[in-house]
Amino acid sequence: MQFQTRSTSDEVEVRLNGRLEFTDHDRLSDIVGLLDGQRARRFTIDLSGLEFLDSAGLGMLLILQEEAEQRNIKLTVRGPQGDVKRSIDLARIGEIITIEP
């Protein structure tokens, strides 16, 4: 998985590309780190470029949600496609995290 970050004054957007899976656990702390030192109260994770997400990847989204909540930052997951969307829907992650089409 690779990611790019774009920040504006009120929003941080992280675009994930490739596959988000078990082996990406070490990268998670890099993304959690982005939650700190930001003024922005909105944090968006754009999944439109993500091809695959396994259960460990879903777990990472849940961790990000909790980390954001603890910092009083609103986390939104945007644009999951294909298999990624199917995985998120099957696990009903939308009951915990705000998912935007």
Binding site: F22, L58, L62, I63, L90, I93, E95, I96
Partner: protein
Amino acid sequence: MAMSLSDSRVLIVDDNEFNRKSLALVIRRAGISEIAFAGDGEEGLRAVDRFRPDLVLLDVDMPVMNGLEMCRALRRNATHEELPVLFQTALDSDEEQVRCFDAGGSDFISKPIRPGECVARVRHQLEKRKLFNDLAAYRERVQRELSHARAMQHSLLPESRRIAAVAERYGLILDAHFETSSELGGDFWGVYPLDDRRVGFLLIDFAGHGITAAINTFRLHTLIDRFPMEDAAPSQWLSRLNGALKDVLPTGQFATAFFGILDLATDTLTFAGAGAPNPVLGVGADLRLLDSAGLVLGASRRARYADQSHRLPRGGFLFLYSDALIECGGEEHGPLGQEAVPAFVRDALAVNRLHPLRPMLDRFYARTRQPLRDDLTAVWIARRA
């Protein structure tokens, strides 16, 4: 800090007594006291077997068998392949050094002896060997413990005798496969006789795999007994399990689940899903994917689950599996994918009407890169016609 070499054993092979004594003196000062001697290569080989040295200091020119031959003989023996051998040689002879390396030497010490250099090279080799042995011992211990843990994990699952007994009691055909991607895994399945007409089936997959996921299956096993299944709808039972898992699982760890109860008196399967892959239900010629969506277990205390009921009469079947079946692919074929599972089952039924699990697995393994990236569990549950 330098490592203590007091328990290291060194064999000195040299036909010249003065050289043997000088070398011994030098390395004794480095703290090595276990020293043995040999006067030629043949004696040297015998001494290696008897004395079991950690390092050999070896002269090149000796009667009976020279140092090069002795070293080659050592390297042919798998036990001594890694034994450090330091040749004593004139350091200005390039040709001789090449011969020593070709014979399997690890390094050189100069002749005549230079004490500082000699100790430094001996120490370097012995420390390397110690670290290597420590690592090998550590690896072996971990390996042993993992294989114990693996046996424990397998003991959580229904054993074949029990599967056969349940199948007999309820008029079922039951086949199951369980494979972890490394020594330990995060999958779990169970079969639970509730009364004379009802039997429960549970399939759980903890996120990730390996040791963390496996520890969660042990946690799960103790929780399952805490919540009786007899008087709860599958959705209620999953809710209770979810609450208990939420208490013990750190954020980011969760499980997908399918829990279904088959009622033979009413020919009904009632189930609740928590994000498990869609099971396949087969009745007559109709094969369909069941909707097993639901919030994964252990993620939120607020999770609520819903029951669904489907007819499952004699001759019908239910196929449960973990996501490895649809997410693992190979070089030639990508992953199978959820939508392809009914056709996959249908093809296997054409090969073996009563026991299609075997042909399914054969086809899966033929198209999938191994070792698997995730744990695979598959359970075939059919009612006898």
